[in-house]
Structures are given as structure tokens and as C-alpha cells.
């Protein structure tokens, strides 16, 4: 996968993680599941999913969109 399509893919993942961090489809819903509101369970699951996605990004694609290929330059300490 090229750097560009990699960046597009991970940007799409980021957009989905942001868009559904609030379960909009449960708006006005007050159902209680196992002692907590259903929307709170969504939050628990979504944070866990985000942690997994971030972990995958960090191991597979870290540096996309930021690191440049010219080695050396910039007078790094």
C-alpha cells in the first residue's frame, strides 16, 4: 500500500472513530442494560475499540503524513 492510500485509509478510520464516539442513533433513548444506560455501554465499547485501532495505527502506520524520507537533514541533536 502506498503512503497516500495509507493516509486516506487511516484518515477514514479516524473520521469514523470521531463520528460515532457519541451514539447518535440512541439519542433520547433511556433504556437500561445490566444496570447502566445502553448509551453508556456504547461508550465503554467504543473507547475499547478506539484503543485497539490506535494501537494498530501505532504499530503499522506511525509516521504517515508526518515523517519525511530524506534521512539525516535538519541538524538533529
Amino acid at each position: 500500500m502506498g503512503e497516500r492510500s495509507e493516509a486516506v485509509l487511516w484518515s477514514a478510520v479516524a473520521v469514523v472513530l470521531v463520528a460515532l464516539a457519541v451514539p447518535w442513533f440512541l439519542w433520547d433513548d433511556g433504556r437500561v442494560v445490566a444496570g447502566l444506560p445502553a448509551w453508556l455501554w456504547w461508550h465503554v465499547g467504543w473507547m475499547a475499540l478506539a484503543a485497539v485501532a490506535f494501537r494498530a495505527f501505532a504499530t503499522r502506520a506511525w509516521g504517515v503524513g508526518i515523517e519525511t524520507d530524506q534521512p539525516g537533514g535538519g541538524g538533529r541533536a
Binding site: D28, G30, V32, A48, E67, T68, D69, G72, G74
Partner: protein
Amino acid sequence: MTALQSALSVEVGIVVGYLLAALAVGAVAYRLTENTAEDYYLASRTLGTVVLLFTTFATLLSAFTFFAGPNIAYNAGPEWILVMGLMDGILFALLWYVVGYKQWLLGRARGYVTLGEMLGDRFGATWLRTLVAVVSLFWLFPYVMLQQRGAGLALVSLTDGAVPYWAGALGITLFMIAYVVVAGMRGVAWTDTLQGLFMLSVVWIAVLWVLASVGGPAAATARLGEAAPGHLELGGGLYTPQYVVATAVYIAFGVTMFPQINQRFFVAGSKETLKRTFGLWPVLVLLLFVPAFMLGAWARGLGIQVPEGGNVLPLLLREFTPTWFAALVIAGALAAMMSSSDSMLLSGASYLTRDVYRPLFGAPDREALVARAGVTIFAFGSLALSLATNATLLQIGETAFGGFAQLALPVIVALYWTRTTRAGITAGIVASQAFYVAAALLPWLPASYALPVIGSWPAAVVGMVLGLVVTVAGSAVTTPATDERRSVYFEGLRAD
């Protein structure tokens, strides 16, 4: 000794013991401190995963976690958990990469210590560096004041008024000056780690304790449903979709420009540290805010009455847990306030000495000494303000977050768009700040703006959009000045 007095001495004893433990950690850190500005401000860029994670996390947390947040959950329902999830669990984590990793690479390559230095170097203008520092200090000051005020009020309520407000705020300020002056970033980071772990443990013990005495989460939630049925439903009242999104967005972006957070982008020891920290944000957010805010929400169904201006969490814990434990939680709240303020003092001082003092008076011979003087001046200045003001905690805090949020988009544009010009970014910063300051301080300007289709949005978000548009349009219609160095953000950025 009466029962009340003995309870009081237990509470004070716990808080004092806690403060001494933090001071001891600071003293150990001091023994490793080298006498250079980079070591004092940035611990020589050596922090590891756990310390970086907790120092950033503890710095992010404030009185809000223990007081204002649970109060909102008590009054309006626990949906702030979702706001926090979007804000700190997702958006801040993404910005940790987009802004943080890029800044870390640049800081390592070019030795930057502050945001102002990074921008001033790229755009070839010392005055831009000073402008960014002055804007930051303008917003940081009231926020430090907020923390001192919160600490003062916490001590008043803990001791039932035996310690007056001014004495509490002064005591906490002196204590923070002591260990920030002595130990610098390393001391701050280590005590933050202690404080962060302490807060997490205390909040979980609190939730387990309260739930055990009321018969579990199902019983607590059922009682909340009887007392305030609307609180279990997602949305309603305070919580509109615009409120949830706007609050999460401007605070998440604002946080990245807060000096104490922004400076943490420079302190990681390695790329691995940043990578590991990145994936842990949603986990920490989940672990802290769900229990803290649910306690506030459940209190509504458990018959806790909160008087005007009171805080629900201490009242709930006094009802359901022993005195010594309620005192531990107050100590946890103090920890939250101190771990934010100590970092803010240190970063504020670095902006003051490097981006304001230096351009005016030249590099000092003994910068680490000037830095310590800066910490002291900063702390007493904000203490003086905290004794004079009477605005509510939340209002002051939100004003500061909105102010920092205005800086974020011009900076991000500069980091990623080569065509950004000095005139463009300056116009973007000045326009959005002017707009937001006016909206925040002038009573006849509206605090929110109704737009067709997408509804009503707060000035903080409108100002962010304005800053973005002005930065991009301004850059498009101007040409770069001859001393701008357009390539420095785009060359040789690797770290293996």
C-alpha cells in the same frame, strides 16, 4: 475532643500526609536535576511511557473531574461522559499524533522548548514568538487562578471553615512553588504520576464503596430513574447535539495549545513512548470519567441534597463512606488541581522567560535561575487574582479553553501547509483572538451564533473557524517574507 474535631484532624492529617509525600517525590527528582534550562523545563527530553502518560493525564485533569463535572452530572445527567470520550479519548489522542508527534520531531531536530520558539523560528519573526507567548499567558493566568481558587474552596469545605479561603489558596500556592522551583519538569512529572495513580484508585474505591452500600449499579440506576427519569436518556436539557460536539471540539483543540500540555509534546524520551501513550488515551478516559461522573449522576437518586454553590461528590461520600475516605477524595481533588497548576506554573514561566524576557533583555546568564523567579512571580500573580475574583469555576475555565482553542488551527495549518505565510498566520491568530476575547468579555456580544441548518454554536467554535479561514486566505493572498524558512517543518523528520 469532640467527634467533629477528631474527624477534622483525621481529614487534615490525610491531606498534610499526602502533600508531604508529593514533596518527597519532588526532592528525589531534584537530586537528578541538572542546572540547565532544557533540563529544568523539559527534563532533558527523557520521559518514559508511564510518566509521560500520567503527567499529561494528571495535567489535563482539574477541579472539573471531582467537582464541576459530577455537579453537572447531578444536575443534568451523566452525558458529560460522552463529551469526555469524544474530547480526550478520541480527539485529543488524534491531536496527540497530528500536533504532538510533529512537534516532538521538530523539537528534537531544532531544540525548541516552547510553541512560540517553534513558530518564531519558522516564520523568521521574534515578535511572532512573543505574540504567541503573550496570548498564551493571557489565558493561562485565569486558569491557574481557577485551580488555586478551587484548592482554597476545597480546604474550606474539608475543614468546615476552620481554614479560611485565603489561607487555603495561599498554602497550596506556597507548596506548589516549593516543589516546582526545586525540581522542575522531572519533579512535576513524577508527582503528577503519583497524583494520577492516586486519583484513579480513589475514584474506583469510592464508586465500589457507594455501590456496595446501595445494592449495586442496577439499584443505583433504578433510583436515579425514579428521581430524574430524563437523566438516563441520552440528550435533553443542557445536552443538545451542538453542545456535545462544540464542547468536545473546542476543549480538545484548546488543550493542545495550553502551554503545559503543548510543552509535553517536546518531552518524550523516544518515538516508542509517544506511540504507546497514543493508544492508552481512550482507556484512561474510560477508567476515570465513567466512575467520577456516574457518582455525581447517581447521587441524584440517593437523596443527596446539594446546596447552592456546593459540590455533590464530597456530600455523597460523607453520606456513604467513613470520614477518612471522604478526606482521601478531597486530597485527590487537591492532587488534581495541583498537578495541573504545577505544570502550568512551570510552562508559564518558560514562556515568560524564553519568549518575553529573552527577546526584550537578551538571553540571561543563568536561565535556570530566571526560570525559578518566573515560577514564583507567576504563582503569586494568579494567587492575587484568585483572592479578588468571584466568578464561578466553570465559567473562568471555559473562557481559557476557548481562548487556547483559537490558537490551534492557525498552528496546525502552519505545521502542515508549506504555503502558510507569516502575514497569514499572524492575521489568523489576531483575528480569532480579537473575536473571542470580545465575545467572552463584552456582555453585549452574543455568546453563541445561530446558523441555518446546523443550529447554534458557541463563540469558541465560530472563532476557530474564523482563525482557520483568515490564516488560509491570508496566506493565499500574501507572499512569504524573505526571512521565512518554509522548509523547516518538512525536512528530515524521522526518528528511528
